[in-house]
């Protein structure tokens, strides 16, 4: 597990132990990666973060168009496991958890422990850093910097 923000590590470690999730990506709603577990290639993280953030954004827009408020979590359930995309508020920002899990756990368990992790992250967040604005022109360099730190390169 690697995290850009040290205060995320403890809640994420606990979540991984409790939920038996295989892959985890914590990111901002703009797709900036905060922490990851299980990914071995930075390219994968980049693609998954971009796609995950896009799915949450489109789902939110769909909810807005349908006047349905918030649609909450997005779950893709497959034969051998599933993917949970779970946005949660952190201060005035929205963070997103992307969790890939197998048959050794269940959607219910992953959701229950995800709620606990989100609560712990909210309690641990210092506030100022999580509220940092990432400007569009800074996005790519910020992403490169994040990936280098996440993969130790």
């Amino acid at each position: 597990m690697r995290a850009l923000e040290p205060w995320v590590e403890s809640p994420l470690t606990e979540f991984l132990a409790e939920s038996s999730a295989r892959l985890v990506l914590l990111m901002t709603s703009s797709g900036q990666v905060i922490a990851q577990h299980g990914f071995t290639r930075s390219l994968d993280v980049m693609s998954v973060a971009a796609l995950g953030a896009a799915i949450v954004a489109s789902t939110g827009e769909l909810a807005r168009v349908m006047d349905a408020g918030s649609l909450g979590h997005v779950v893709h359930q497959g034969k051998h496991g599933g993917v949970l995309l779970a946005p949660f508020p952190l201060g005035e920002k929205i963070w997103i958890g992307l969790i890939v899990f197998g048959q050794d756990t269940s959607l219910g368990l992953v959701q229950v422990f995800f709620h606990t992790m989100a609560k712990q992250i909210r309690e641990a967040a210092p506030g100022s850093r999580s509220d940092e604005q990432i400007l569009a022109e800074q996005f790519e360099s910020e992403l490169d910097r994040s990936l280098r730190r996440l993969f130790g390169r």
């Binding site: 359930q77 269940s106 959607l107 219910g108 368990l109 959701q111 709620h115």
Partner: protein, 116 residues
């Protein structure tokens, strides 16, 4: 569709001392129908009950006893009774210490038959 499940849950909660009753998707560990007293969160109950049932199923299989019919846990402040309906469905009841356990077991068996 959900009325069938709600009716089953309502029948279980009519047994004295039942604080929470749920029909649970045993594979995903999520709530299908529930009736709980204030302060009992059915989501963790469903998730952990499904996980426990899966693990006990494995244990009983190793012991050569086949799948569990009823799982009963007695704790200091109450009881937890689980009745697998099928590989996909599970009925769960959380009670206080004063519940008539025989009556509860009959209610869970009846619930399982109605859901089969």
């Amino acid at each position: 569709m959900s009325n069938r499940y709600d009716a089953v849950v309502a029948a279980i909660t009519r047994v004295g001392g039942v604080r929470s009753a749920c029909v649970v998707d045993a594979i995903d560990g999520i709530v299908v129908a529930e009736s709980s007293m204030v302060g009992t969160d059915p989501a963790p109950l469903a998730a952990l009950a499904a996980s426990l049932t899966r693990k006990l199923d494995g244990l009983l299989s190793v012991a050569g006893h086949g799948p569990p019919r009823v799982i009963h846990l007695e704790a200091e402040l109450g009881h937890l009774m689980l009745k697998p309906v099928s590989p996909e469905l599970l009925v769960v009841a959380v009670t206080d210490t004063e519940t008539n356990l025989g009556l509860l077991r009959l209610a869970l068996t009846d619930a399982a038959e109605r859901l089969e």
